[in-house]
Amino acid sequence: MPKQKIILKGIPASTGVMKGKVKIILDPSDNSKMRKGDILVTEMTNPLFVPAIQKAKAIVTDVGGLLSHAAIVSRELGIPCVVGTKKATKILKDNQKIIVNATKGEIYEV
């Protein structure tokens, strides 16, 4: 299998590997953009993002650490999560297919 290209790195916050389409949600009023199985990409989460989180296969955030809201919620729900990538919302594009390796904290292009 060819080595996949790493496009982003962050802090692994909840383990697992998932492949899916990116949905960038900067404001919870855009939660309806999320389809079941999408990958939620956002700056940081708060309780208003819960409807989007519940549909997400994985979460990637720009900021936060192992005890941030996204990290805690994703561990509780068992969703792979990479936090603190600093620029996920700028680098990734809506509907882009990616692989999130939340065990290593790496995001690959498909």
Binding site: P12, P28, N46, I72
Partner: protein, 298 residues
């Protein structure tokens, strides 16, 4: 008749000030750098991580909260409720500045923004930032986090770090049943008890964090208290300054314009430090100082 301060004109009497101070509001002036602030691991100063202008927990508080994480949660959430009330109070009063003369309006808004910022500093940095300090063993969260890390290393001979926490470590923090079973078998009875205590402590800190975020959310307006109160006040202030540049000194206008363009969190901090405050008209600066001095604890 006694001279009425500008904030008194919008209903903030000495009695009101006293009431807030009695409830525990801590306002200091001027905003000064704390030489012993903790930097974030990557050296960046972000709102969640570090700031040079904030009062950290005292030694006694740290000791108490390491021993009793539930006490931290209790005190922290008490402060969350208080902070939210104060932000809403300041925000409501800001609406009354519409009836003031132009210059008074600038003083009132600047003063209210300062009060908001100091209350926020006290909440976020004295309390909230400690919830993400897992990498600082001298803090309550860091102390218990290190215990988990050490016991993880004891069993697996791997060193978990922020950049490489390892799958097993994250599962341990998530209190995964399989991992816990494995650790129970591999650790001594005493070490396993310490691990359980550490995981419980981290859970208390996590719960405090989640509860805080829920409490500070205005679900009706779908916005958190910071964005719902502080940001609009700052926005209103900048609009006034754009409309009336004559209230800033000529030599300070370029500086103020630069600050205006910054992110509101960074912009508000810069605006409220002495070099920026001195860019305002002398009378505005002096009135602002008078207002704030009423709030400073003696």
């Amino acid at each position: 008749m006694r001279y009425k301060t500008i904030l008194e004109k919008i209903g903030i009497s000495d009695e009101v000030v006293k009431k807030w101070k009695k409830k525990g509001l801590k306002i200091t002036y001027p905003t000064e750098k704390n030489p012993h602030y903790l930097k974030s691991a990557d050296g960046e100063a972000f709102v969640e991580n570090a700031d040079k202008f904030v009062p950290p927990l005292t030694k006694q508080e740290t000791k108490l909260y390491i021993k009793h994480p539930e006490k931290f949660k209790e005190d922290f959430l008490k402060n969350v409720r208080f902070f939210k009330k104060f932000c809403n109070f300041v925000y409501k009063k800001q609406k009354r500045t519409e009836g003031l003369k132009r210059k008074d309006k600038i003083v009132a808004l600047l003063s209210l923004i300062y009060l908001f910022q100091r209350a926020m500093d006290y909440h976020y940095y004295h309390w909230d930032r400690y919830l993400v300090y897992e990498d600082y063993p001298q803090t309550p969260v860091g102390y218990w986090w290190k215990k988990i890390k050490d016991l993880y290393t004891k069993v697996t001979r791997k060193k978990a770090s922020k950049k490489n926490p390892f799958e097993g470590f994250l599962k341990l923090v998530a209190r995964d049943k399989e991992i816990l079973k494995e650790f129970r078998e591999k650790l001594s009875k005493n070490d396993f008890l310490i691990l359980k205590k550490a995981l419980q402590a981290i859970k208390i800190f996590e719960d405090a964090q989640q509860k805080e975020i829920e409490m500070l959310m205005d679900y009706e307006r779908k916005i958190d208290v910071l964005k719902g109160t502080g940001f609009p006040m700052l926005d209103k202030f900048w609009k006034e300054i754009k409309r009336h540049p004559e209230f800033t000194r000529k030599e300070g206008r370029a500086k103020i314009k630069t600050i205006m363009r910054l992110h509101p969190i960074i912009g508000a901090r810069r605006l409220l430090l002495a070099p920026a405050l001195k860019c305002f008209d002398k009378e505005i600066f002096s009135q602002f100082q008078k207002e704030i001095k009423r709030w400073v604890k003696r």
